[in-house]
Structures are given as C-alpha cells and as structure tokens.
Amino acid sequence: MKIVYIPSKITSDVNGYELLLRLQSDLSHFIGEDIHISFKNVYWFEANLVAILGAIIEDLENRHNRVKIIDAEYFRLKNDILFRNGFFPQYGITSSSLFSSSTQIPYMKFKEHEPQLYNDYIQSELLDNKDFPRHSEKLGGEIKRNIFELFENARTHGKCKHIHTCGQFYPTRKKLHITIVDTGQTIVNNVKDFLKKDMKSSEYIDWAMETGNTTKVGNIPGGLGLGLIFEFINLNKGKIQVVSSNGYWELREGKISKHDLNFSFRGTIANLEFDLTENNHYSLADEVPQFDIIF
C-alpha cells in the first residue's frame, strides 16, 4: 500500500498546479495498487481545484489502482468546503453539522456522451441558485455561454472518458471560479500533430487560444470557442488558466503569461474566474447582422 500526502497549500497558480502535477507524476508507475491519498497536512485547498484531483484519481483507477481518501477529518477542522462541494462524499466520506452555505458549485464528473446532464447541472447549480450574486442578465448569459463553449471543447477535442468540474462563487468579492478538467488528448499533442512543428508546450496552447485556429479537419468548422472565451475574459477582466501536458498559459488582467512546467498533466485543465461586477458592453461583433442576407 502506498500513502501519498497532499501538500499543505493548493492554490490556482503555477506553484499549485506544479504540486498537483507532481502528485500525478509520482504515482504514474503504480498499477493495481492500494493508494491512500492523505489530507493530513492540508490547510488550504482552493475548492474548485478538486476537479484536478478527481481527474488524477480517475487516471489512477484506470490503471486498476484502488484509491482511498484518508485523513479528511484533519482538513475538516480547518475547512469543510470539500464536504460541502461533494468531493469527499464522492469518495464515501461524509460529515454532519456542516457550515450552512450554498456558494459551492458541486464537484461532478460527466461522461463524454452526457452533455444533457451538464446542462441540467449548470441550470440547477448556477442559474437556479438563489445565493448566486446579482449580476446583469447580459453578463450572466455570456458567462454561461463561455462555460458551455469550454465544456464542449473538452468533450469534442479531449476524446476523454470523463470531464471533471467544480466551482465556487464568492458573494462579497462577486467572483465566480469554475474548473473544467478532461483526461483525454492534450491541447499540446493535438496542436503539435496538426502543425507538425516543434514549439514549447505553452506556445501550442497560445496557438489554440487564437480565434480562427483549430485542429479540426472534418466538415464542421472550428476555431471560435477558445478565441471567443479569450476575448470575453479580456473584456470581463477575469482570468483563465490552461494547463495541458506541461504547458501553462494564463490570461489575467489583460496580460498573457506562459510557462513550461516541470511535470506534465495527462489531459487539459481550464480554470476560469469571472468578475460579476463588470458591466462592459460584451459585443461579439461590430454590428448586429441583417438576417435576410446573413449567408
């Protein structure tokens, strides 16, 4: 039996992603083992990032390892969010007398062929949640569109078994965080195969984020989803981080950062932050088209 300890602090920055990717890397050679993942040392775990841990556990289980989460009660003393957002209960650990709050968008995993369930999830957890911060209808519509564009991108490009997702909103700061993780084909490999050109991993992600760039080759055009998310996040003054293979790409406050990490993730992580106070005019095109001659 192998016991691994989650590091003390997991946040959505280069260091936080490196720690989670290192965990996956350290366990990459285990097949058919009992693996216990301990929360004994954890004092902070950014709630929505459990989508990444869920994907890492799926990866282990795909190699016939038997995974168990242990020492959750240690973390419970500091914070009960991973009980409230359904992550610990997913692995059979429950707790009573939890702090009453509904600012979490629960941890869920969806099969690639279950987009309707994802629709229902967003409807019930985001749209029908009475505690979700007030925001303009227009902004709400654009946020939902962006979440669905990203989910559909993961579903069609990742060719994965499951898509893991989890979110958290912050009523006082008026922010919404949502993480979507797939364990399929990486953006890096998809773009590398398509361009047949050697670049740094983060540069492949940079290419994929540009409007008009797509690795699709069939009869359905592509190249809009990620580009439009990029443009929207820029206008919204939000944040998007993409980790794929060992590439790290971030857009925050209008500035792009790119790094190649020391470890690789077998899939793609997208972490988004939306600003719910923004009242920009989110126009996708200069003019509303004339529908009589739209084609």
């Binding site: 987009p115 309707q116 629709n119 409807q123 227009k138 519509g141 654009e142 939902k144 569109r145 669905f148 564009e149 559909e152 991108n153 579903r155 069609t156 008009g212 797509t214 080759v217 009869n219 359905i220 055009p221 592509g222 190249g223 809009l224 989803g225 439009l228 126009s283 996708l284 095109a285 003019e287 509303v288 088209p289 529908f291 009589d292 001659i293 739209i294 084609f295």
Partner: protein, 116 residues
C-alpha cells in the same frame, strides 16, 4: 417547412455539437428535396458557436450550398438579441475555414502530384 429547434433538441440550451448535427441533417434533407426551411429559435435561451458550427457552418462544407441558395432557402427567426451576432461570426468563420481547407488540400495535392 418550419423547424422548431426546441422541439427537435428537447432543451432550451442549443449548446452541443451533437444537437447542431441533428439540425444540419434535417436542413440537408429538406434542401436536397428543394424545400425551403424556416429555422425557428423561439425558446432557445443559450447558444454556443459549437452548436452553430455544426448546424449552420457545416452547410458550407464541400461547397454543398452557396450563399445565394441559403439566403433564398433558409430563413432564421426568433433569435434572441444577444445571440444574433454569433450567426455572423459563425458564417464568416465557416467560409474562411472551407476556403483554407481547399487551399490546404490543393497545396497538399500539388506537393504530392505537382501543380502542372
């Protein structure tokens, strides 16, 4: 022929490639019989480019339907104000995508077989 999207995809979220594909198939069937279509988006509250790429953008594949044909035979109605600009973006992108692909395939063919 009038096609109500919500009746076909059974949800008010027009967001997936698969649902877009179903709409494309129905459009293709009608156009091959020379039936003009009114595509009705009433009740659709959320739309993505992924859905529109497969339902509308795909009409431009293999030069199957020209802009003139589509402007005469496909009428789009009841699209929410905030979704209208998406159509223009998707149509523009589809034209570029298939033009690029023709160029790509021609270049590949030229480099294999020579251009003369």
């Amino acid at each position: 022929m009038q096609l109500r999207i919500i009746d076909i995809i059974k949800t008010n979220f027009a967001v997936t490639t698969d649902d877009g594909d179903r709409i494309f198939d129905l459009l293709d069937q009608n156009f091959s019989k020379k039936n003009p279509v009114i595509l009705d988006f009433e009740g659709i509250t959320l739309m993505t480019t992924a859905f529109l790429n497969s339902s509308i953008g795909q009409l431009y594949s293999n030069n199957k339907y020209s802009s003139e044909f589509l402007n005469s035979n496909l009428k789009i109605v009841n699209v929410q104000e905030q979704d209208r600009s998406l159509f223009a973006i998707v149509v523009k992108r589809a034209k570029e995508y298939f033009a690029d692909r023709q160029g790509f395939e021609r270049n590949t063919s030229d480099s294999i077989y020579g251009s003369d």
